[in-house]
Every structure is written in C-alpha cells, then in structure tokens.
Symmetry: C2
Subunit: 684 residues, 2 copies
C-alpha cells in the first residue's frame, strides 16, 4: 500500500494501491459494484471514519457527525467518479461540490485514502492556522472544487459548473452533496428550478438525510417535505439508504448514465445516521459540531475495528501538531479565458446615449469578435434575471441565444451559478439592477471571490439615477460593498465611451469585476476641443483617475453617474469666470500617489458621488490623503438619506448632488479662509 506509510496494510494486502485499484472502475463503468470493490470501500470506510475522528479530536473541534453520515457518498464519489488523483485539476474530471462544507473531515478522509494527498497530513493539521486543511472545505485541498460553508449555495455552484461544461463542449458530470437541514435555505429552490428548466442532468444532487441539525431533529427545528419539494420543482427523486454501497452506487450510476438524455436531473436522498460507525454517538445531534475526547476516540477506533498496532497515534499527532503546519499542496490554478477586446466604439458627443446601451453594444462586439457562437470560438455566457430589456442585454440575447441564460427572478442562485461558471474558463457576465447585483447578492459575491471566480457583474439603474423606482431600488452602497470583498474591482464609467472601454478591459482581465451604471441618457463627455474625451485616442488605465477639465483653486472629484453633473457644474462656473479642476474616477481603488497630489494641490476639494456619503469615495479619498500627510478643506456631496421616487434630475437636485450643489460647494470653499480649522501637526 503505497499511499500512506501509517496505513494498516493487513486488511488490504500488501500490494494494494488505491489509485491503481479504482482506476478502471472510474466513471461508474460497472453495472454494479463488484464484491472486491465493495469490500475495499467498506474497509476504507472504517479507516476513513478513524481519520475523521483523528482530525477532529486532534483539532479539538470540527464536525464529526455529518462527516460520518456522508462518508459512503464521499467514498463512492472520490473512488469512482472520473477523477485522476495524480492530476487533481485535470480539465475533463467530474466536479464534486460539497455544499455542507463543515463535513470537510469526511471529504478529506475519502480524498486522502484515494491518494490525492497523505491523509496523515490532514489528521495532523486539520484546522491548524496556515494549513490547507481548513475547517470548511477549501480549494487549497486537491479534489475540492469549491470553498463552501455558508449553506445553500452548493447546488447553485454545481449548476454553474454544468453550464460551463455545456459552454465548453465538455461532458464532465457535476455532483453536489448537501445536508438535510440545509434544505431550509431558499436559494436551493431557485437552483433546482433552473436545473429542471434547462434539463441539467449533468448534475446529480445528493442529500445526506441524517435527520439532525445543530438544534436537534430537523422535523422539530423546521419541518420539511424534502422529496415533495424537489419533485414539485421537476426533479427525479431517488431515496436510498445512504450507507448501502450497492443502493447508492445504483442510484449514482443511473443518474450518471442519464446525462445528455431528455431526463430530469436526479436528486438522491440518502437516509443516513449521524455519527455512523461509533454507536455511542450515532443519531446524537450534539456531535454535529463537537469533537470526541481522546478517550472516546479510542473507544471509537475499537468500535470501528481499527485495532492494528500503532493505529491510535493521537498523542503523536498532538505532538507533531505543535510544530505548526508544514504541508504545502499545489494551488488551484485559475483558468483564464483568452479574450479579444475588439475595436472600441466611440459615441459622438452630440448624441445622448445611456451607459447601459454602451455596455450592451460592447457585449455584442465581444461576442462577435471572439466567435462565441462558433465551435472554435470563446466560451462565453450572459446570465439574466428577467431584466434583459432594461439592462440592455437583449441585443446579445438576440444575437447569441444559446449563450444567453435566463434564470428568472432568482438572484441569489444566479450569482453563485454565474460565479461557478466563470471559474471554469468561461467568460461570464451577469447583468442586473444595482440593488440585486450588488446589495441582494453581496454574500454570494463574497463567496465567489473567495473561490477566485472571474465574474463580470454589470449593474444598471444604480444610485439615485434609478429615478422613479425609488428608495427600495436605490443602490447607493456599491463602493462600500465591493471594496469589502478583496478581489472585487469596481468600475464607474463616466460616460458611454468610457463604459465601452471598461467593458473591453474587464472582459480581458482575470478577476471579479463590477461595473456600475445609471439609467439616464447623457451626452458623452467632450474634451476642451469638443472631441470625445474618452474617444479614439483614449485608453483605459486601471487605478488612475481622469482629468476632465483643468483649472485652479478647487478640485471637483466625482465618479460614475455624477461625472455629467461635474461637467455641467464646471461649465456653469466657467461662465462665471471660475475654472475648477474636474477629475473623475472610473476605477475605485487605492489611488496613485501622483493622482492624489493632483487632487489635493489647491487644498480645496469637493467630492461628489451617487452613493452613501458615509461609506463612499469621499471618505476613501480623505483617508488616502490623510495617510499621505496631505491636508485640504473638503466638502463631501453624496447621498445622506433614502431618496425619493422621481425623475433622476429632480431627485439629484432634491438630494444635493446635482450640478447646482457642486457650484454652491465650490463657491463656499472659494469664499472660505483656506486654513482648515485645526491642525494637530503643531502639537506633535
């Protein structure tokens, strides 16, 4: 047995090698489990349960109960799905998503005994700071596809992987394993309707139906008709004993074989026993999330038949754990689509266009230039939640109907599915209103980001420019939210031309991105010579600000929707003989030092934003200037309360972020003494 020097070979025979043994059975090729395979899986089950207990007892925390109830599913999948333990990121592998991520010890054990890594490393380092073997499953571990832990998202991720398979012309199958308490999350219903609608039978769902959750019996905590619910959403439901290898295999094999037929997708509801294998904790919900004490662990090893000399190495594990983590495993590589940007479009300054139309047009261009509807073209999809007409993805839908994915009014699941699709090398967009694509799905975007997704979210109707839809539809938190997610870059184009450039830029740059647009039409911003400022010669520069007009005395700093107000204010002031410096920011990030100095040069700044003024660009800019030791008087214009429903121009005026308000703020600064009220430097 080559995979683990501490593994007791006597049960298997000295030449037994998991990788070689299961190799020819992978892909669920056999009609039924051979006796030999079954015998090996049964024995692995005992060892894997021992490892689950070692991991959690050694860590002093974790979730043994569900790990032990899910174990037969993990063993069958990691042993018999189309996987290559030596090449865990093989592109044609089946994908296995673990939705109830707290059962990580179960997954790590099954993977370890299949040769994906040395199970001893997981036993020693589970939940040790800096180790890849984290408390919830993480992609840092070979074989793990998706970081999870927030329940209810796994099926959505699986659907997203299946959409990617279609887009890429691949035939891999995606399995997702969920908990039963988890079925209380509404997002799951969104995903299963999508899967049923699109006959996504390349997905097989499994539910670990151990009937317990943290607080007790699931039927006490929250009664559910799990099978009826799935059936009502159009799934094929199979109920099996989740510890019966033959029954589970048969269900998996049947669902696997149905891929590509006209069949509905299948969910396997596997009745199991929490804590299965150690009778003292079986069906006891207290072991959902509590580790066994060492003396219990030793009893469990005996109950599991793990009596070989040297099996109980808890003391040694505890001792070596003290030395800290020493395992390094290969990182999960990102799959970067190679995207051609195409030819930028320049909208003339004398025609009113909305940014969202510029986005929709650029999207069609990207599709065409990358031949996304051709066999040798780029894999690319656009997700929609019943708003294509408003968010201007209708042109794309018409041109590329097969690449357009209508998910209905189901934003949570859409966000996760789109994130999972994007992580597979498919250029993936999702377009929605700001309150849905930013505010409603913030946590889904956070999880996508932890998963190194590459999702481009294009939000329209942001800020007060949502107009008549009113306060429930005012997305005025896009800066605070996107900036709270480490890898989520925010773009706020100032006009249709800049929108065009940014869409092309983010399409060809890896990572999660958010473009924020309003609803109104505007004249593209002109340069002082009357040509389009973001025209033919303009090239978008990430992280840099844009000088729209130069002047002296005061800098007006704006972004996105309000850039047009900035231009109008500049012109009004210019007519009065006052020339201010007008700068806009299309990429909200840490700013370049030279840009910060240019903004602060006159010691007087007006910031303008279609965003909550407490958490927006004014605060962020102030903080950066402060860190540089720069000082300035500043007036921050922004949203200070929930705004009314009305025409955007009226709302801007009422809320004090229109050109008139900018003009007033500039004049206030110009007539004030230029020295800020206090300066602590003196006392330093």
């Amino acid at each position: 047995m080559s995979m683990d020097s501490n593994f007791d070979p006597s049960s298997f025979g000295s030449n037994w090698d998991a990788k070689a043994f299961f190799k020819n059975d992978r892909g669920f090729v056999a009609d039924k489990l051979s006796e030999d395979v079954k015998e090996k899986l049964t024995m692995l089950g005992a060892y894997a349960r021992g490892s689950i207990i070692k991991m959690t007892t050694n860590a002093g925390s974790g979730h043994p109960g569900g790990s032990m109830s899910s174990l037969e599913m993990y063993l069958l999948l990691y042993s018999l799905a189309k996987l290559r333990p030596d090449e865990p990121r093989w592109e044609d592998r089946d994908r296995i998503i673990i939705s109830h991520g707290h059962t990580s010890p179960g997954a790590y054990s099954a993977l370890g005994y299949n040769g994906f890594f040395n199970v001893k490393d997981a036993e020693r380092e589970f939940r040790l700071a800096g180790s890849p073997f984290e408390g919830h499953v993480e992609r840092s571990v070979p074989g793990i596809e998706w970081d999870s832990g927030n329940l209810g998202q796994g099926l959505s991720a699986a659907c997203g992987k299946a959409v990617a398979a279609k887009a890429l012309g691949k035939s891999f199958h995606t399995f997702v394993i969920m908990g039963d308490g988890e079925q209380q999350k509404g997002q799951i219903a969104e995903a299963r309707r999508f899967a049923a609608k699109t006959k996504l039978n390349s997905v097989t769902a499994l539910i670990d139906y151990n009937k317990l959750q943290i607080s007790g019996d699931i039927s006490d905590v929250m009664p559910q008709q799990i099978a009826a619910g799935w059936r009502s959403d159009g799934w094929n439901v199979v109920e099996v004993d989740g510890h019966d290898l033959d029954a589970l295999y048969a269900a998996l094999k049947t669902s696997y074989a149905a891929q590509g037929t006209d069949a509905a997708p299948t969910v396997i509801i596997a009745t199991t026993i929490m804590g299965k294998g150690y009778p003292a904790i079986e069906n006891d919900h207290n072991y959902h999330g509590a580790a066994l004490k060492p003396e219990q662990a030793r009893e469990a090893f005996v109950a599991l038949g793990l009596t070989a000399d040297g099996y109980d190495d808890l003391d040694k594990l505890a001792e070596t754990r003290k030395a800290g983590t020493s395992v390094t495993l290969p990182a999960f590589p990102t799959v970067e689509p190679k995207v051609k940007q195409g030819e930028p479009r320049t909208y003339p300054v004398d025609e009113k266009v909305d940014n969202r139309s510029a986005w929709g047009n650029a999207l069609v261009d990207i599709g065409k230039v990358n031949n996304i509807d051709k066999a040798d073209g780029l894999a690319c999809v656009v997700y929609d939640c019943d708003l294509a007409v408003s968010v201007k993805t209708g042109g794309f839908a018409k041109e590329f109907p097969d690449n357009f994915i209508q998910y209905g009014i189901a934003e949570h699941s859409t966000c996760t599915s789109a994130g999972a699709t994007s992580s597979e090398g498919v250029l993936t967009f999702w377009s929605d209103f700001g309150v849905f694509g930013v505010s409603e799905t913030y946590n889904q975007s956070r999880l996508n980001d932890i998963n190194h997704a590459n999702l481009k979210i294009a939000c329209t109707h942001c800020g007060l420019d949502v107009g008549e839809d009113g306060k429930t539809h005012q997305c005025i938190d896009y800066f605070a939210l996107s900036r709270s997610v480490f890898g989520w870059r925010l773009f706020t184009p100032a006009d249709p031309n800049q929108t065009d450039r940014i869409v092309r830029h983010i399409s060809s740059t890896y990572g999660n991105a958010l473009i924020v647009m309003g609803r109104s039409k505007m004249n593209p911003i002109s340069a002082p010579d009357g040509s389009a400022l973001f025209g033919t010669d303009y090239k978008f520069q990430a992280g840099r600000t844009d000088l729209i007009r130069d002047g002296r005395g005061v800098t007006v700093f704006c972004a996105g929707n309000v850039a047009a107000e900035g231009v109008a204010a500049y012109e009004a002031l210019h007519a009065e003989g006052i020339d201010v410096r007008l700068i806009s920011s299309a990429h909200w990030a840490d700013f370049h030092e030279a840009d910060l100095e240019r903004i602060a040069e006159f010691g007087k700044i007006v910031t303008v934003e279609d965003h909550n003024v407490n958490t927006g660009i004014g605060v962020s800019l102030s903080s950066e200037l402060f860190a540089m030791g720069l000082s300035a008087e500043i007036i921050k214009l922004g949203v200070r309360e929930y705004g009314p429903s009305g025409k955007a121009t009226d709302v801007y005026k009422l809320m004090g972020i229109d050109s008139g308000a900018i003009v007033s703020a500039v004049k206030t600064l110009l007539t004030q003494d230029s020295t800020p009220s206090k300066n602590a430097m003196a006392s330093a």
Copy 2:
C-alpha cells in the same frame, strides 16, 4: 359621494359614501358578497382602473399591467378587511402587505376610492420627486404597511406581522399579495415553511397569477409548479379566478375565518389577466412596466365605460403636475416598546467570559425584568436560525420558550420577518453568526431600515475571531455594511461588561442596531486600579469613545474583538517603559470632536480592527480627522486578505492584528520622524 369631488357620482347615487357603505361589511362578516356590495365594487373597479392609467400615463412610467390584474384583490381587501380609512394606523387593523410593490397604482387606487386619501392626488403626483406616491408602495401612503419593491420579501414580512400579533395578544389578520414571477425567489419558500410550521393561519397569501413577467410568459422565463410548491411546504392552496369577486370573497372569507383554528395557512392563487379592463393591452407583457400613451389612455377610458363628462382630465393632471408636489400625508408613526433595562451585571476581571455569554445573560435579564412571559409584560421575541447554542440564546429559549422563535437555516426570511415583528412595537432580537446576520442578509436589513424597523441583531463569531471555521465564516465587513444603511447603528463592545451595558442600551432605544461580538473568552478589561473598567460606575455613552489607558506619544485606537489585544499591547509596552494612549470605540459612528482631538493629539495613531482594513474604522477615522484639518502619521492594522482557519490567537498573529503587531506599529511610529511625508497646506 364625499370622497372625491372629481368622481362621477351618477353611477353610485349622489349620497354614496365609500367609508360608510363598506363599514358594516368590514372583517368579511357577510357569508357572501351582497349584490349591492358587488355592484359597487364592480363600478369602483372601472374607476380604479381609470386611475391606474391616469397615474402611470401622467407619470410617463410605472406598472399598469399588474396593477390592473391585482385590482380585484386590492378592492376586496381595502374595502372589506378590518380597516378604518379615517384612522389608517388603528392598532387593531388588519395588515395588508404588498410584496410586488410595483403594482402601487393598483393599491393607491383602491385605497383612494376607499377614502384613505384623495385619489386625485395620486393621479397627479404619482412618481413625482418628493411626493408620497412613490413608484413602489411606501409607508408614506396611508394604508400601506410595508415599503417593498425588491421581490420575494412580502410573505416574510407578513409572517413577522403575524408573529407580532401573537406576541401582542392581538387578533388582526395579515394579508400579503405577491406576483407570480416573484414566486421564483427562494426566500418565499423559507417563509412558507415557517408559516406552516407555526400554523400561522392569521396570514392569508394571495398570488396574482397573470402568467406574465417582464421578459414574457412565466413558463418560458422560469417554469414553476406554483400550487405544488406551496402544497409541498404544507399550505392549503385555493385556486380561483382573480377577477371573480364572489370566488375571491369566498376564498378570503374562508381563510379569514380559519384564523386561530388548527388549519394550515391558505394561499389563494388568483388567475388573472395582465392589463385587465383594456382589451388592447390584456395579456401583453410589454405593459408590465410601460405606461400607456395619452391616446391609448383615452381609448382605455372608453373601454372601461368611463365616459362621464370631465373624466378625461389628463391634460389638467399634466399641467398641475408641473407645479410640483403639494400633498402631505400623515407620517407612519413608529411604535416604541417601553423597555426597562434592568440591573447591569458586572463580570469580575479575573474570570474569563465571552461577550456572547454576556449577551445571552443580559437577554435573559431583559426578559425577566420586563415580564415578557406575563400577560401584562412587554411583548418580546428572539429569532434563531439553528444556532442558539453557539450564539448563547439557549438560556432565553429555556426561560421563555414561547418567546423564542426557531426559524431554521433560513436567514433571508428570518431577517425580514424579524424586522416586520420589530416594527409593531415588539422588542425583537435576532442572533446569528456575523456572516449570516450581516453579510448574507444585508439587503433584507436595508429594506428593514427603509421600513423604520426596530430590530436588534446580535452577531457572534465575527471577524477573525470566528477561529477554525475559516474564511467563508469571517465576517469582516460589519462596519462597511451597517454604515451603508442610514439607520443601522453598529456596536462593538470591548468586553463582557460593555456588552452587557450595550444590550440594555439598544433594547431601550428605538431603531435598528447591530452588536458585533467574537467567539473567544477574555478577561474583562480592568481600569488602572484593577477594578472592572466597564464596571458598576460605567454608563454607556452613545457616540463617544472609551479611554482605556492614557499615555503619550502614540494613540492606539481599537474596537470590539481587538480591544483585548490593545490592552495586551499596552501592557507589553508599559513593561518596556512606553505608555501609549489606548482608546476603543464601542459605537462606530461620526465621532465627537473632542474624541477626535484626543485621538490625534500626538500626531501618531495606530488603528486596529478585526475588519477589512479598506472599509473599516481606520479609514473612517482618517476621513473624519482629515475633515477637521487634523494631521497624523497613521498605521492601520486590519484584515488585508481572507484569513486562514485556526485558533483565533494564531489567526490574529498570522494576519497581523495581534498585540505583537500593535507593539511593532507603535515602535515604528516612535522611531520615525514625526512629520508626515507631504503636506499640501503649504501650496494652498
């Protein structure tokens, strides 16, 4: 007909008065609709449809289609539910929640023709900036209970109102009307399971089943088995023709009468016709969200039989609209529970306690001192999502089982329900892990806040102190998110004693509040004399910072979980003869000027936070100091990337926010030249 001078009385008779006419039928008392009532409702239907068209055509936008399909439901409810048009906030009134808030013209029309206000005002000012008649239903309009517009939340809000009724010992009924496309939102399934579990038959749900959504036929956009889905979650399903007044009445009456029995709650699936009443737009999804042109509107008036002289006043409406809004309506009053704080507990400094236990203990105290389980006690409930053991609400659940609401793993619906309960004068808490109570449900909290709710969310396991649960469970965005919601106050107690005081403070202060706690135990912070700093003499002061230790040279500014690290750093530095000033912030808001000066006094600041450093307290503090014209060298310690899974102390160290990192930062500042690198003042 007194209610509207522009209303054509000839159809009704000159003495007809809606308020008087329906008064004795309110509460669905009649076994069936009388012919007289039916005749009046039918005629009102024509007029109300006319008003829907006037509102939307006059505004040039809005949603006539669904308003016209939902109309018979609106008329029956606003005419026959237990309501008082002259006293729209009467406390015993039935509650009517509109979940598909875009059908506001339908609701406004039905309310207007029932005398809640003058329908002409709505026709003139619909969607005019500053008017109460906003694009989506808002509580600014008498009769409207809940601001909506983000779909999928209405049933949750209705459940929350019904929970409030129970807690208050009231017998009002709550109706909620939803769209059919909206049924694609997962949150609805969470709410209906909760309602079924708790036999919440004081709720009646209605679905406007017009079979269309923005993008077309709902069965093309996203096929659903609506009736089967509701049945699978345990509801009684009644299917009726939604334009048949008799059938609708019978269904409503039956469900209304079932309140308080053992029956499951009822959903009425009302088959309707989008655009009903004007055949040219019937069943045309393009009129979901588009206004008729004036010439179409005039055709529609004829089709509706509205041919009275002067009925077509579109031109006059357009003319008077130009003058701006002139309507003022009575504001929706908040219902403030009168809460006794009880006696604070002081935890001794030599015993380790976790903040979450202090929260759980204070909660039990609040329950006891306010007699919440007594008939004459305070109405108070605590919501849980299957985490009571971890979030320490188990003590409350044991003491007050009837006041403890187990919602299962269903955070979206829980947040909305809890918000709605809190808005009814019930002291309402919800406790969860930070990633669920802050990140996952951000948008639900935003909507609660727009609705002036009074929900106290107590989150444990926040920040990196979540420990072994790892990155998917690290809530490091509580400042950025709560601060993006105008009325959501954030509290970050430094130790168990301050936790105790803050729980008592927020319980007795109206408004949405978030308390953020970690997971670890700590010694309560001592004063220099060894007594508890937040002990017997301490009184929590909102908006002020706390001086934990005084010193000179450098200010260390911390909050919440990391206050203990600040104390440890202070002590380590003190041992080396360095005394810094240590200040913590338990209430993150705009700071008091005197506090800001005290923080900046030495021109050297270290901020420490268990939060994303890009959007946290360091940035906010810098911005405030900058606005005051104060300068200082600053080192911001905080979370800069997703953290690992491990013991909190190990994770803090690895991520550079432990006491050692603070000591290093202080020393860096002390050995640096005290002048910031650049100062733009010179050039000003």
